[in-house]
């Protein structure tokens, strides 16, 4: 049974159709990458798959249970890191993770122990008592990741988790995610960085203009070439030609 199964998801904003009938099966235990150009509908799809945005049509099954029919039951099993939203940033890092844990219905000792472990794992021990509003962009991503992990979800859905994160922290986060997948969890990440997805994920789906263009294991999708080349092929939009003639400072 797939960890997440999307069937015929549609979503329209005013005149613009952001997601136009997406079908996707994300196998349990996979490290799944979602790639696509800007405005492809990645964030919209992930929001609908996690209960943050109601689809106009279609169903979302998480381990076989309909998310939009049984939201409370399903939300216990997924961890979310959305992109482009605020956090309750007047809380300290430790308070924010505690808040997320208590909202998930965990008891106090569990929340306390997990908050400590998670902040240590993402390297925020020193800043546990600093208000999140004073965090840098990368630290904010890391504390949001800790919030998504606190209830030990079966599925983790991360929208652009590596944006603004420094290479060392990114490596730490990747290691956490790999351990999580090795332990039987499922991870879905969206990203612009093809190289990262090719190295990190075992499955990938290419999305553009609200449609799935290709999906499968990374090796299937890239078909012997690099993921980036294959992506540009699928999505199109490369502008070739002689370029801009006057943009050559060496000529004068």
């Amino acid at each position: 049974m797939p960890a997440i199964a999307l069937h015929g998801l549609w979503r329209r904003f005013g005149q613009k159709v952001a997601v136009a009938g997406i079908d996707l099966a994300i196998p349990a235990g996979s490290f799944y990458g979602l790639v696509g150009p800007n405005g492809a509908g990645k964030t919209t799809t992930l929001s609908m798959a996690t209960g943050l945005l109601r689809p106009d049509a279609g169903t979302v099954l998480v381990h076989g249970v309909d998310l939009w029919a049984h939201p409370v039951e399903v939300k216990r099993t997924i961890g979310v890191l959305p992109d482009g939203v605020r956090l309750f940033d007047r809380l300290t890092g430790a308070q924010l993770v505690t808040y997320a844990g208590l909202l998930q219905g965990l008891d106090r000792p569990t929340v306390e122990a997990r908050t400590r472990d998670l902040l240590a794992a993402v390297g925020l021990e020193q800043d546990a008592d600093t208000l999140v509003v004073d965090y840098s962009a990368g630290m904010t991503k890391k504390v949001a990741l800790a919030c998504a992990l606190v209830h030990a979800p079966r599925v983790l859905v991360l929208d652009e988790p590596f944006e603004a994160v420094d290479p060392v922290s990114a490596a730490n986060i990747r290691e956490i995610l790999h351990q999580y997948v090795a332990g039987g969890g499922t991870v879905v990440v969206s990203s612009h960085v093809m190289d990262l997805v090719q190295r990190m994920c075992d499955h990938v789906a290419v999305i553009a203009e609200g449609h799935v263009l290709a999906a499968g294991t990374v090796d299937e999708v890239r078909a012997g070439r690099s993921l980036e080349e294959r992506f540009v092929d699928l999505v199109g939009g490369r502008i070739s030609g002689e370029g801009i003639a006057w943009l050559r400072t060496s000529s004068d």
């Binding site: 943050l52 945005l53 007047r90 505690t98 997320a100 909202l103 929340v111 208000l131 509003v133 004073d134």
Partner: protein, 518 residues
């Protein structure tokens, strides 16, 4: 280059108007208000031409100084300086510094406050129409005054930006700034009293005319008095102020361009605070979060800042009457209704609740618990205080009944309204006094409907209480107490249940709408 900057400002204004019809409505309303001030200002200048020279000079200097001071200080606390032409955006273009400063100064006048100030100030020579030489001096002074206003405002805001930009400082300043507004009435009346006595105005004006704020306005009176030394000295003061303001602005600009303003500040809090004290349940966690925000987020404090002030104001304005007794119910309503935009205050951070296995009812109870506890304490203190002040101990049960009823009912009403409607509000860290563009018809309608509904539902206890107080009937007061508490509790439970189920259904839509505001 200067013309380019002015044209850019005009284009920005025009494109801003194209964005939404509400923006046009806002600008038209502001323009009408500005026109009114303008007409009053020009008429005042003409009228001053008919009064005694000494009074005329004193009024011009004092009013003019207040105007200049307003330009310098108000942007720091209240509205911020118009940032459509932020100097930082011109960094990558090779604009000569002098052109940039002159262009920004002129562009800064293109706006309602700028036009009103410029026209009114340049109308001051009308007050001196009988003395042509003085009128000429007034014209020079007027031009200088306009420049002092605009360049001075740029200088103070740019120079103090690193301090004001710090989140803590701005929050405190913004919180304090409301105090003079509340006491505006008493302050003005006592000022008028002081000025009327023993030519207080003249004394103030004499001092002000030697300051950077008053000097440009004192040129014409010096001409009339034939005080040529005074004229030259004041001219030097005014010109020096302009030059100094340009230098400070230019210097501060260099500094902000080199080291951008950070909102930093090392704010830390030990331990878990409320999260360690309140029950470890979803509702308890939401209450802990709400309690933390009541302390750390000035938007909440400002919503209820009127509460401690209202009884004082009522007591001062009607020392004899029992009018002050309405302060208790008013406090109850203010605190209870303060959570009517709670989801909008969360902004997109509300996703944390949506992503959790959380019932809407739990969300509602958590928020109600904090506002309710605070409201109960505040209300009882105000009720007992006002009863003690008026000596009407017989009215105590009636007032407690009406106030508690109103508190519980408004909490219930707010729970429904905040789950049904969101609209753009100040986000945490933004100036709580700044006006939010696009605050929509939805905001207005939901508030009005909510007010009316809460008023109607809380009416039974309130009417009983009023009768009890007017007829001095303690029996009726006890009835009001029972009705207020029982009916209020029922309405609170109904409101929370209803709001909770609305939130379960509409939560994702609310988040989507708030994402679209950003």
């Amino acid at each position: 280059m200067v013309a380019h900057l002015v044209r850019l400002k005009l284009t920005l204004l025009r494109n801003g108007l194209r964005r939404s019809a509400w923006q046009v409505v806002g600008v038209v309303a502001a323009a009408l208000y500005g026109l009114l001030v303008l007409v009053l200002g020009v008429a005042g200048a003409v009228a001053l031409g008919f009064v005694d020279v000494q009074v005329r000079a004193d009024v011009l200097v004092v009013v003019g100084s207040v105007l200049v001071l307003g330009w310098w200080v108000v942007p720091l606390v209240a509205f911020g300086v118009d940032a459509t032409l932020d100097p930082r955006r011109f960094v990558t273009f090779g604009v000569p510094r002098r052109d940039l400063l002159v262009g920004l100064t002129l562009a800064g006048l293109l706006g309602i406050p700028g036009v009103v100030t410029a026209v009114t100030t340049l109308a001051t020579p009308l007050a001196w129409w009988r003395e042509p030489a003085a009128a000429l001096a007034a014209l020079v002074g007027g031009v200088l005054a306009v420049v002092v206003c605009t360049v001075g405002a740029r200088a103070t805001t740019t120079a103090l930006a690193p301090v004001i930009g710090r989140r803590r400082v701005r929050e405190v300043v913004a919180g304090l700034a409301i105090v003079p507004f509340i006491f505006l009435g008493p302050i003005l009346s006592s000022l008028a009293e002081g000025a009327g006595r023993v030519d207080g105005l003249g004394a103030v004006a004499r001092v002000l005319s030697w300051t950077p704020m008053g000097a440009p306005w004192a040129l014409a009176p010096a001409v009339v008095a034939g005080d040529w030394t005074g004229l030259v000295v004041r001219l030097v003061i005014a010109l020096g102020t302009v030059a100094l303001a340009f230098v400070v602005w230019s210097w501060a600009l260099d500094r902000t361009l080199a080291e951008p303003v950070t909102s930093g500040g090392d704010s830390r809090a030990r331990g878990l605070g409320w999260f360690g004290r309140l029950p470890a349940t979803p509702t308890g966690a939401i209450a802990a979060r709400a309690a933390t925000y009541w302390l750390r987020d000035p938007r909440y404090a400002i919503a209820v800042a009127i509460v401690p002030v209202l009884p004082l104001l009522l007591a001062v304005s009607a020392p004899e009457g029992a009018l002050v007794l309405i302060a208790g119910p008013a406090a109850a309503f203010t605190v209870g209704w303060s959570i009517s935009a709670d989801v909008a205050y969360d902004g997109t951070a509300f996703w944390t609740h949506l992503a959790s296995p959380l019932r809407g009812v739990a969300d509602r109870w958590g928020r109600v618990a904090v506002a309710g506890s605070l409201g109960l304490v505040v209300t009882l203190v105000v009720v007992v205080g006002t009863v003690w002040y008026t000596g009407r101990w017989d009215a105590l049960p009636a007032l407690v009944g009406a106030s508690t009823g109103l508190l519980l009912t408004s909490l219930g009403g707010a729970s429904v309204v905040s789950a049904a409607v969101v609209y753009p509000v100040q986000q945490p860290g933004e100036n709580p006094f700044g006006t939010k563009q696009g605050a929509s018809a939805a905001a207005f309608t939901s508030q009005m409907v909510g007010f009316t509904a809460v008023g109607a539902l809380a009416a039974p206890a309130a009417v009983l209480a009023l009768l009890a107080i007017l007829r001095e009937s303690p029996g009726l007061g006890w009835v009001a107490l029972v009705v207020g508490v029982v009916l209020g509790s029922v309405l609170l439970v109904v409101g929370v249940r209803l709001g909770g189920s609305v939130l379960d259904r509409r939560g994702p839509d609310l988040l989507q709408r708030m994402r679209a505001f950003a």
